[in-house]
Symmetry: C2
């Protein structure tokens, strides 16, 4: 029984390890530091500059609740990474726009994210990785 592993437990442990060692993305010459999640959001916004992106999209993509998004984006605005602008066609929506500062960080952030991804994938074959993601997807579906 004590040898049996629990999915939630193992994922939680791995998530903690990631948070500790792979979360902070210090960008040289930047005063404020982009935390792990900040980097992902900046990357997403940079890759979708041609469309309007709102908080509700961040919710869906990153699987976080609206209150969390609200707080995170408030911090990112304070740090000078984004602005939240109203749109004409719907007063409820606030369009998320990257600042120049954040856009300048994009390439470096992606480099860092990809570099870390390579470290995480060490000793894991492409086939194993595919299996891993497919099972993770099954687990995600089992939760809902």
């Amino acid at each position: 029984m004590s040898a049996q592993k629990y999915i939630g437990m193992e994922i939680g442990k791995t998530n903690n390890l990631l948070k500790r060692n792979f979360s902070s993305n210090k960008v040289k010459q930047q005063i404020e530091e982009a935390t792990g999640k900040n980097s992902w959001i900046i990357a997403f916004l940079a890759e979708h500059q041609d469309e309007d992106v709102f908080q509700k999209d961040i919710e869906r993509i990153f699987s976080i609740r609206r209150s969390t998004v609200s707080n995170m984006l408030k911090l990112m605005e304070k740090k000078g990474y984004i602005n939240r602008e109203p749109v004409e066609y719907d007063a409820r929506l606030k369009r998320l726009v990257l600042t120049k500062q954040a856009m300048d960080m994009y390439n470096l952030l992606m480099e860092q994210l990809n570099e870390k991804e390579l470290i995480l994938r060490k000793n894991i074959s492409d086939e194993e990785l595919e299996t891993f993601f497919s099972i993770l997807l099954k687990i995600q579906n089992n939760i809902k």
Copy 2:
């Protein structure tokens, strides 16, 4: 590029889903509610009643930092699940002891944890699961 998945991202998303839907363990007739991590800790202590367990052990087993353990156990003490007792042979250590209330919850908590585990494993074969855990272990080792 946008189709490529990132390990940290997918694990983070899954962890959020777990936290939202599989974390709370309401035990009938209990005033206070044992949160997800509380349940795990109670289970661990119940299964190791014959030995002395200290905060440093919880750190190692659950892969969380000492400050986190300190805060979590302070809350659990407040809720009446554990007591922290000094030991004679080392004044730095505080032995963790389950209260009667928590011991009474143990069987029900394990039932709930196992029940949830079954839901998480739906549509996943034993072989797949073994692969999944082995890759997760590789990822954990890649982080350190």
